[in-house]
C-alpha cells in the first residue's frame, strides 16, 4: 500500500476577479521528494504556495498536509520569493522571534542554524547591514526553525552568487537525506535539473506535466542527441549506421551530430561503439529540462506525457523507489 503523501493537492483552483490564476491542479508529493514547480512568471506557482500555506482560500479543491487541511503551519518551513525582514533586528533576534512563534525557542540552537547558512559570524549584526545574499540565507535559516518536514522555497536562489547557490543546494541535499520534503520554484532550469528529483510544469495556472525529470523526457518522446567525433582523416562517408538518421555535419567534415528516438539510443550506441576504427569519441545528450520545458510550454498538456486537468494519478509517480525507465 502506498504511503500517504505528505502533501496532497486535489483539483485546486483559484480565481481573482476575472483571472483564473490556478486551474484544477492536482499533485501528490511523497515524503523525502524534492519537487520543483517551473513555469513562466504568472504561471501560478506562488499562488499554489500561498494556498498550501493557508494564506489564500482556494476557489475550489483542497490542500492536505499529512492528511490534514492546509493551515497546519507547524509542518511547513517557508522562504518567500522576495524575502524581507525588519532591518533593525539582528539575525539572532529574528530567529528568536520566529522560534517563539513556532513554539520551539528553547529547543532551537540558533548558532548552529546560522552556521548551516554561513551566517554565524553575522548573527549579532542588524539585518539592515546584510547583503541580499545574506538575507536570502537568513531566510533559509528561519525556514529551518523547528526542523519542519516540508520546506516550501519560492525562488530560493535568486540573489545568491554561484558559490552560495552550490552551498544552498548542498544543504538541500543534506535535508533530503534526513527525510525533509522540499517543494521549490525556480526559473533556473539547469539548477532544477541538477538538484531536484521531480518537476511540475505550469502554464497559465494549468499543470502541463509532472513527474521525475527523466521519465518526463521519455514520456514526451523527446529524442537523444549524439555528438560523434571521427578518427583523424576520416569523413562521415566512413561511418555505417543501419538506422536512418539526419546528421548535421561539422565544418571539418570530421564530426557529426544527430537525434535519435529514446528507444534507439542503446542500439545506435552499440553500432557506433562497434566501429572503433572510425569513431574516436561519442557523446550522448539526453533531453535537458530546458528541452522538456520548451516541449510542454509549446504543446500544452495535449503533448505526449502531458497530464489531464485535475488528474493526480496520471504521472504522479513520486515514490522514491520507482524504477526509472530512462538511462543516462
Amino acid at each position: 500500500m502506498a504511503a500517504t503523501p505528505i502533501l496532497r493537492i486535489r483539483e485546486l483552483s483559484k480565481s481573482f476577479a476575472e483571472t483564473d490564476a490556478v486551474k484544477v491542479v492536482s499533485l501528490d508529493v511523497q515524503a523525502g521528494d524534492c519537487l520543483a514547480l517551473v513555469g513562466h512568471n504568472g504561471a501560478g506557482k506562488t499562488t499554489i504556495f500561498k494556498m498550501i500555506l493557508g494564506l489564500l482560500r482556494p476557489t475550489a479543491g483542497e490542500v492536505l498536509i499529512n492528511g490534514q487541511v492546509a493551515g497546519n503551519h507547524t509542518a511547513i518551513g517557508f522562504l518567500p520569493e522576495s524575502v524581507s525582514f525588519q532591518s533593525s533586528l539582528t539575525g539572532y533576534e529574528l530567529l528568536g522571534f520566529f522560534a517563539r512563534l513556532r513554539g520551539v525557542e528553547r529547543a532551537t540552537d540558533f548558532t548552529k542554524l546560522l552556521d548551516k547558512v554561513d551566517l554565524a559570524e553575522a548573527g549579532n549584526r542588524r539585518i539592515g547591514t546584510y547583503s541580499k545574499g545574506m538575507r536570502q540565507r537568513l531566510g533559509l535559516a528561519q525556514a529551518l526553525i523547528g526542523d519542519p518536514p516540508l520546506l516550501i522555497l519560492d525562488e530560493p536562489t535568486s540573489g545568491l552568487d554561484p558559490a552560495s547557490r552550490r552551498r544552498f543546494y548542498a544543504l538541500l541535499d543534506e535535508l533530503r537525506a534526513t527525510g525533509t520534503t522540499i517543494l521549490l520554484s525556480s526559473h533556473a532550469l539547469s539548477e532544477v535539473e541538477a538538484y531536484t528529483s521531480h518537476v511540475a510544469i505550469l502554464r497559465g495556472g494549468e499543470l502541463l506535466a509532472k513527474g521525475p525529470i527523466q521519465e518526463l523526457a521519455v514520456d514526451a518522446g523527446l529524442p537523444v542527441r549524439f555528438d560523434v567525433q571521427l578518427q583523424d582523416g576520416l569523413d562521415v562517408s566512413s561511418l555505417y549506421l543501419k538506422h536512418e538518421i539526419s546528421p548535421k555535419i561539422g565544418p571539418d567534415k570530421n564530426s557529426l551530430s544527430f537525434d535519435v528516438p529514446e528507444p534507439l539510443k542503446i542500439p545506435v550506441l552499440h553500432e557506433l561503439s562497434g566501429q572503433p576504427s572510425v569513431v574516436a569519441d561519442i557523446r550522448v545528450h539526453p533531453p535537458t529540462l530546458d528541452d522538456i520545458y520548451a516541449h510542454f510550454q509549446e504543446n500544452g498538456n495535449d503533448a505526449p506525457g502531458g497530464c489531464d486537468a485535475g488528474d493526480a494519478g496520471n504521472v504522479t509517480r513520486f515514490p522514491s523507489d520507482r524504477k526509472r525507465k530512462a538511462t543516462r
Binding site: H73, T74, P80, E81, L89, F97, R100, L101, G103
Partner: protein, 277 residues
C-alpha cells in the same frame, strides 16, 4: 494568545528602535513639560491646584498629539508589511491573522502608553513638587485619569489606524485615510457640531442628543472625561466648555472610551481576515 504576545513584543522592540517614535515621545515630553511649567502662572490668580491647571492644558495637547501619534504608528502596520513581503512570511507561521492584529494593537498601544506615562507623569511630578504645598489628592487622581484616558484614546486611534491599514492595499491610501480620520475626529467633527448648534439646528438637536453625539468621537469622550473636574472652574472655554457641561455619567464616558478602544480593533481584524495576502 502566545502568538499575539510574541508579535506585541516585537512591535515594542521595533518601536524603541524607531527614531520617529523616539522623537515623538521626546517631543511629547518636552511639550508636556513646557505646558506644565508655563501653565503654573495663572494658578495663583484663580486659586486652583496647579496640577489641575496643568492637566487642563495637557488634555488639550493630548487631543491633538495622541491621535496623531497613534495613527502614524499604526496606519502602516498591516499594509506596510504586506507591501514589504514580511507579512507573507509571518503568516506562514502558526499564528492567526487575529493574533497578528491583536499583537500589533497591544504592542503599539504599549508604546503610546509608555510615551504618555513618561511625558505626562514627569510633567505631573514636576508640577506637583514645584509647589510648597504639593498637589492635592484630587490633582493626583486627575493626573491618573488623564494618563489612563489618554492611553485608551490612543488605543482607539491605534485601532482606527489598523483598520485603515488592513482595509487598504496601498500604503499611500492608508496614510490618506489615517490623516482624514485625524482631521475628522480632532478638528472637523467639533466644528460641524458647533456649527450646527450656532446656526439654529440646536432646536433639532435635543438636549439629550447632544451628549450622545459627542460619544461618537473618542477625542470628545476623552475631553469630557478630563473636563469633568474643571467644568465650573472657568479654566475652560469654547467647545471644551460645551463638552465639559454635557451631562453624561463618568461610568458612561469610561464605557464609551473602552468601547472605542476595542471596536475599531474588531473592524481591523475583520478586514484583515477577509483580505488576500
Amino acid at each position: 494568545m502566545n502568538g499575539a504576545l510574541t508579535v506585541a513584543g516585537l512591535e515594542v522592540r521595533l518601536g524603541f528602535r524607531n527614531r520617529w517614535v523616539l522623537a515623538t515621545t521626546l517631543l511629547m515630553a518636552v511639550l508636556a513639560l513646557s505646558i506644565a511649567m508655563l501653565g503654573q502662572s495663572p494658578a495663583g490668580n484663580i486659586d486652583a491646584d496647579p496640577l489641575i491647571v496643568a492637566i487642563v492644558s495637557l488634555a488639550s495637547l493630548t487631543i491633538f498629539l495622541i491621535p496623531l501619534m497613534a495613527l502614524l504608528l499604526s496606519y502602516d502596520a498591516i499594509v506596510g508589511e504586506v507591501d514589504q513581503g514580511t507579512m507573507l512570511l509571518l503568516l506562514s507561521y502558526p499564528v492567526s491573522r487575529t493574533a497578528v492584529v491583536l499583537g500589533k494593537f497591544f504592542g503599539q498601544t504599549t508604546i503610546i502608553g509608555l510615551a504618555t506615562l513618561l511625558g505626562y507623569g514627569l510633567a505631573g511630578i514636576i508640577v506637583a513638587f514645584s509647589q510648597e504645598s504639593g498637589a492635592s489628592a484630587e490633582g493626583w487622581i486627575a493626573l491618573a485619569k488623564l494618563i489612563v484616558s489618554a492611553i485608551l484614546m490612543g488605543a482607539a486611534f491605534v485601532g482606527l489606524g489598523l483598520a485603515c491599514s488592513s482595509f487598504t492595499r496601498q500604503r499611500g491610501a492608508a496614510a490618506g485615510l489615517a490623516v482624514s480620520l485625524w482631521l475628522l475626529f480632532v478638528i472637523v467633527f467639533d466644528l460641524l457640531l458647533l456649527g450646527a448648534l450656532v446656526s439654529g439646528f440646536d432646536s433639532v438637536i435635543s438636549e439629550g442628543a447632544f451628549p450622545m453625539m459627542l460619544l461618537a468621537n473618542p477625542a470628545d469622550v476623552f475631553r469630557m472625561l478630563n473636563m469633568e473636574l474643571v467644568a465650573g472652574s472657568g479654566l475652560v472655554s469654547g467647545f471644551a466648555k460645551v463638552s465639559a457641561n454635557a451631562s453624561i455619567a463618568t461610568a458612561g464616558l469610561w464605557g464609551a472610551l473602552l468601547l472605542w478602544s476595542v471596536s475599531p480593533l474588531a473592524v481591523a481584524v475583520l478586514f484583515f481576515k477577509r483580505s488576500d495576502i
